[in-house]
Amino acid sequence: MKSVGSGTPRLGVGIGWRSEIDTAVERLPDLDWVEVVAENICAGHLPESLHALRARGVTVVPHGVSLGLGGAELPDRGRLARLAEVAEAVAAPLVTEHLAFVRAGGLEAGHLLPVPRSRESLVVIAENIRIAQQELPVPLALENVAAHLRWPEDELTEGQFLAELVERTGVRLLIDVANLHTNRVNLGLDVTAELDRLPLEAIAYVHVAGGVERDGVWHDTHAHPVGAPVLEVLAELCARTDPPGVLLERDENFPPPAELAGELAEIRRVLERRVQHV
């Protein structure tokens, strides 16, 4: 694994490993790395498929969905410990989570919710990130989320908020271009301006995923093929920086392996166009 910049590993092009498509993922040509949903695997009993991929030199990165680092509470120590165990079990170069909260007042939301982007919550979330960083054995990167609502407290854009967190904690970023597109459709986000606000050097990797627009609302389903608008955001990002990694997320309605390979090839073409333009 080569490194770029300040120790960010060069990941390449990968796909989200899911048990439903494990053999398809194993057979994908030129696969550099996979991401696994940390909560779906157990450090003591890794799926055989992940062992096989690791033996071939495919990097595995755990992606957490339940920490809720954007929550008001201290990050749960048990959840952090489990994430750390998974990271060590797969010898991950980093782990990732979300700029989101998932529970409050004793209720589980069941999904990633956007945080109020106020100066006040910045203090809390920066502290949560510092605590997580102390408990984790490898660097942490945080992902921007897809949202259907905005907080009245919002003083900063997500890009500005993430930049502040990078500055205060040294956390790295996972930029989901499908989520940027989602927020463009649903909340009127200016994606170009948002990309300009991101601290590009902090980017660890990029997520790409498909969704669908219904009645003027974009649903980030991870169940549809990646469309042109999302690939265009990827191209816009790649015009600004050379991301160390790009990963395709597909969680449902799995297509035949050839279609997944085709989507990865499409992503590689966007990255190659970047090289040609430099």
Partner: protein, 141 residues
């Protein structure tokens, strides 16, 4: 001080700004989550239409996740699954895992829908009558 106390103290550390910020954030986040998954009022300052769309998204994710962990349940109910689950979820917040949610939903559907073609199959799914027969294993992840 124990290691756990040490951990818990870190979030405070005598930092008054942090303590106040945590309390304020906790209050607002709790109000929003209650509006999204527990039928609570839309908190002050939010766009009710945006909150409704987000709530529908969370409900759809819950419904689809239950269908994925208990595919036999969705198969038994067929076209009735979506509208029934919508009614159930509006009255019942999720308290346990998705398997428990699936069973609670099935119990609710049996209790609330008297004359339906799927009653028998649903009751059978919940309480397999003849335990001597080898039970079919479903593909649960």
């Amino acid at each position: 001080m124990s290691e756990q106390d040490e951990y818990l103290r870190r979030g405070e550390g005598g930092d008054a700004e942090l303590v106040v910020a945590r309390a304020g954030l906790a209050h607002r986040q709790a109000a929003l989550v209650a509006a999204l998954v527990d039928g609570g009022p839309v908190p002050e300052g939010f766009d009710p239409a945006q909150v409704r769309i987000q709530a529908e998204g969370l409900a759809a994710k819950r419904r689809d996740t239950v269908a994925r962990v208990a595919p036999e349940l969705a198969a038994i109910l067929g076209e009735a699954y979506h509208p029934l689950f919508r009614r159930y979820a509006a009255q019942h917040r999720q308290t346990g895992g998705y398997r428990a949610d699936a069973r609670a939903f099935a119990e609710w559907a049996l209790a609330h829908e008297a004359a339906t073609p799927w009653r028998g199959a649903l009751g059978q799914w919940l309480r397999p009558a003849d335990e001597r027969r080898p039970r079919r294993r479903w593909g649960i992840r």
